[in-house]
């Protein structure tokens, strides 16, 4: 009935404006909180939550205990609810809303579903009101009555939705539950009898969780790459710390240290009652060989988990004043600055300068890159370190232009890779335009203006022609068709790498750019 009519019946009626958005948000938060029972949770409609507790119930001592715990905790948060546990989603929905047990949780064991569903009204099948009314009009008031009808008649008369809901409730049709968030590969939960809020206690609990998770990962030979530590507060909110590592890690100290570094971003509120550590991306990780004294032979040690607890201290076997190894350093830097901030320079076979040396993320696994050869210990025993070979930059040399002024003859002014002129230490991306003046078409400029300063060129070398790589697809770069590169030196000695884009004598104007600066 409209509000005005209701108020006329009962003038003292308390009214509150409906806020569906806030209600939905609150339901979502509650569903996230229910994550403590199982990661497979999702809101259901506007007033329900569905949780998949297959395989989790034993952690609470059975489905009855789990349901009772849920009711008690919801009550503590000020939420009244009805809980039903059954072996299909449809049946649980029906029992939660339509069973006659009052406030007590309903647990229906497999095999009793059919008998339990039969006396419930047809609205318990999640049908829309029109279909339910149609069923009632023909006299099918109970679910059991509907079940007794031939299925194709029901489909013809009431649509396939009715038959589908019936099958889902009885378990003949599977109904998967899409969880809110990604389900973790491994999960460890720590519940506290009393809620804790002290940062020292949280840190201790973090360490304990990390060790337990690592114990599980060790048994399966896995390492974790992405971890989420969730703090379930007493008021129902969930705070999270998300962590990523550059390599799969199984080092409890390292993981705990990474989490502890971010603990100050977590607000425990009035207290945290559960902490759940979930590993999302796991990769296989073999065991490490340890030396006799407990330190690893590998110069980048991973403490092998079978060491007794007291030995597993950070820095064992490391130098005085140092903590951890390079992989741990990259993790620490990556977690604060973002893993995209760590880069390596890799050479590519290309004679176009901006493609010849590319920056790649450093988090790609390639252990030989961090080591230059046998470790100091092995080297002292006489194992020779291999000579450091620079990446092979055998790109095709640009074709030399006609005239020669300052040829690369005589002494080798070139880099270690034979045959190519030296490259600048700093390369601008994109190249900066300059205004240049030159005499003859193939000459380097004798004067140019760059960054609003005028430069007079005293010496120049070049040109070196670098043409586009026709074998690359068209959209793979911003290369002008032909570039003639010159090394120029001005009166003060600044050495720059200029190029002219475009061929002289063509119809379009020629553009000059500064591409880099030499040391």
């Amino acid at each position: 009935m409209p509000l005005a009519d209701a108020l006329s019946f009962l003038p003292g009626l308390a009214t509150v404006a409906a806020e569906p958005a806030k209600d939905a948000a609150a339901l979502l938060r509650l569903a996230e909180w229910c994550d403590r029972y199982s990661p497979w949770t999702a809101p259901d409609g506007i007033d329900g939550i569905k949780i998949e507790v297959t395989g989790c119930a034993h952690l609470w001592g059975g489905e009855d205990a789990l349901a009772a715990d849920l009711i008690a905790r919801l009550d503590r948060q000020g939420v009244t609810g009805r809980v039903a546990v059954a072996d299909t989603l449809g049946a649980a929905w029906a029992f939660a809303r339509f069973s006659q047990t009052g406030e007590r949780p309903v647990v229906v064991w497999p095999g009793k579903t059919r008998a339990g569903l039969a006396p419930l009204p047809v609205e318990a099948l999640r049908l829309d009101p029109a279909t339910a009314q149609g069923l009632r009009r023909v006299g099918l008031k109970r679910v059991g009555d509907l079940y007794a009808m031939p299925r194709d008649a029901v489909t013809r008369r009431f649509g396939e939705a009715a038959a589908r809901r019936l099958d889902q409730a009885y378990g003949d049709l599977p109904e998967p539950l899409s969880p809110l968030a990604e389900t973790p590969a491994r999960r460890i939960r720590l519940s506290f009898a009393e809620p804790i809020a002290d940062p020292a206690d949280l840190a201790l609990a973090t360490g304990r969780l990390a060790e337990d998770l690592v114990a599980r990962l060790v048994l399966e030979g896995l390492g974790a790459r992405r971890l989420v530590l969730a703090f379930h507060r007493v008021d129902g909110r969930v705070e999270r710390i998300v962590l990523g590592t550059a390599r799969p890690s199984r080092d409890p100290n390292h993981l705990a240290a990474l989490f502890k570094g971010r603990l100050d971003t977590v607000d425990p509120g009035l207290g945290v009652e559960d902490m759940i550590l979930a590993a999302f991306a796991v990769e296989p990780l073999g065991p490490e060989q340890i030396g006799f004294a407990g330190a690893s032979i590998n110069p980048h040690p991973h403490p092998f988990h079978s060491l007794p607890r007291e030995r597993r201290r950070v820095g064992e076997g490391a130098k005085e004043g140092t903590s951890g190894n390079v992989a741990a350093l990259l993790d620490r830097l990556g977690n604060r600055l973002g893993l995209a901030a760590l880069l390596r320079l890799e050479a590519r076979e290309s004679h176009i300068p901006e493609r010849a040396s590319v920056r790649v993320p450093a988090a790609l696994p390639s252990p030989p890159l961090l080591r230059s050869g046998p470790s100091r210990a092995l080297r002292e025993r006489g194992v020779q370190a291999p000579t450091v070979t620079l990446p092979d930059q055998r790109g095709r040399e640009g074709e030399a232009a006609g005239w020669v002024r300052g040829q690369w003859g005589g002494e080798r002014l070139i880099g270690r890779d034979g045959g190519k002129p030296p490259r600048p230490v700093r390369l601008f991306e994109p190249p900066e335009p300059v205004e240049a003046a030159w005499l003859l078409p193939d000459d380097p400029p004798f004067r140019f203006t760059w960054r609003r300063r005028a430069y007079r060129v005293r010496r120049a070398d070049g040109p070196e022609r670098i043409a586009e790589e026709w074998w690359q697809p068209d959209e793979s770069g911003v290369v002008d068709a032909i570039r003639d590169y010159y090394r120029v030196e001005d009166e003060e000695g600044r050495r720059l790498w200029l190029f002219r884009a475009g061929l002289p004598g063509g119809g379009h104007p020629l553009c000059w750019y500064v591409h880099g600066i030499f040391g």
Binding site: G321, L329, R332, A347, A356, S372, R405, V425, G493, G519
Partner: protein, 285 residues
């Protein structure tokens, strides 16, 4: 029994270096505790305490003039030093920067293998200094390089202490985006062990050869020439040198900086090669 003290040598003049060394060790016990990296050029090594660049310490490198914005000379100088350092020490080189314009081929030309580098790209100075300090505290890192503009003295002290404790060498390249800020901050003191300033000099003309065999003095660019100034050195005195950077024909890369023979008298004669002896290096300052 008190006898004549025979430990003291008779000659008082030879006592002085011994005493000086003792005093230096007492004054700064950790100064060269991790060893030194010699430049391979005798004149520079003589000016540095211990005969080379101190390892396990913080060194600051500035580029003169316009190089304060781009940092190419400073980067080439540091790359040359690192090229020798990484042959002696295991581990990666952590290079922290805000503008990722380092070119791998250019570093290779200076002798540094770019595969040993891990670049850390940061947005803020505070994050950059934090990353440098983290790198200094890690085993498996051979050296840490950072490109900062504003370099407060407190931060420099922290980095110096971290470097001393762990033995990892730290380099700070000063690089500003703003000329006014550069001028203001360039001369502020900090706790670096040495402070270098590199300026570019015009290179010497190099004799070129054409196919016909006749030599002709071309006007091409020769080997890069720098003016290297040691502005401040703990335990040493400021000095400056004009150097020519030349990769020796030997595979041994320790000789990356060799002192030019004929820079003593300038301007440069257009005829090529002088015959003045190699010791005629003008020491300035």
């Amino acid at each position: 029994m008190i006898g004549p003290s025979s430990k003291m040598p008779r000659d008082p003049l030879s006592v002085l270096p011994m005493l000086r060394d003792q005093v230096r060790r007492l004054e700064r016990p950790a100064a060269t505790a991790h060893g030194v990296l010699p430049f391979g050029a005798a004149a520079i090594d003589r000016a540095l305490p211990g005969g080379g660049l101190a390892r396990g310490a913080l060194h600051e490198v500035l580029g003169a003039g316009g190089d304060g914005e781009d940092g190419a000379l400073a980067a080439a100088f540091v790359a040359g030093i690192l090229a020798r350092l990484v042959t002696a020490v295991d581990g990666i080189v952590l290079w922290c920067l805000a503008r990722p314009d380092l070119h791998g081929a250019g570093l290779a030309a200076c002798g540094l293998d770019p595969a040993r580098l891990v670049l850390v790209r940061t947005a803020r100075d505070s994050e950059l200094l934090w990353a440098m300090e983290e790198g200094l505290r890690t085993s498996g890192v051979a050296a840490v390089v950072g490109e900062v503009g504003a370099f407060p003295a407190v931060a420099s002290r922290r980095l110096q202490l971290a470097a001393e404790r762990s033995g990892v060498t730290a380099f700070v390249l000063r690089r500003w985006c703003n000329g006014g800020q550069a001028a203001r901050e360039r001369n502020l003191p900090n706790a670096a062990a040495t402070r270098w300033q590199i300026a570019a000099l015009p290179s010497r003309p190099v004799t070129r050869f054409r196919e016909g065999g006749d030599s002709r003095a071309g006007s091409g660019i020769g080997h890069p020439c720098w003016r290297v100034e040691l502005l401040r050195c703990r335990g040493g005195e400021p000095a400056g040198w004009d150097v020519e950077v030349r990769e020796g024909k030997m595979v041994d890369a320790t000789d990356i900086v060799s002192l030019a023979e004929a820079l003593a008298d300038r301007p440069m004669a257009p005829g090529g090669g002088d015959t003045s002896p190699p010791e005629a290096i003008r020491r300035v300052g």
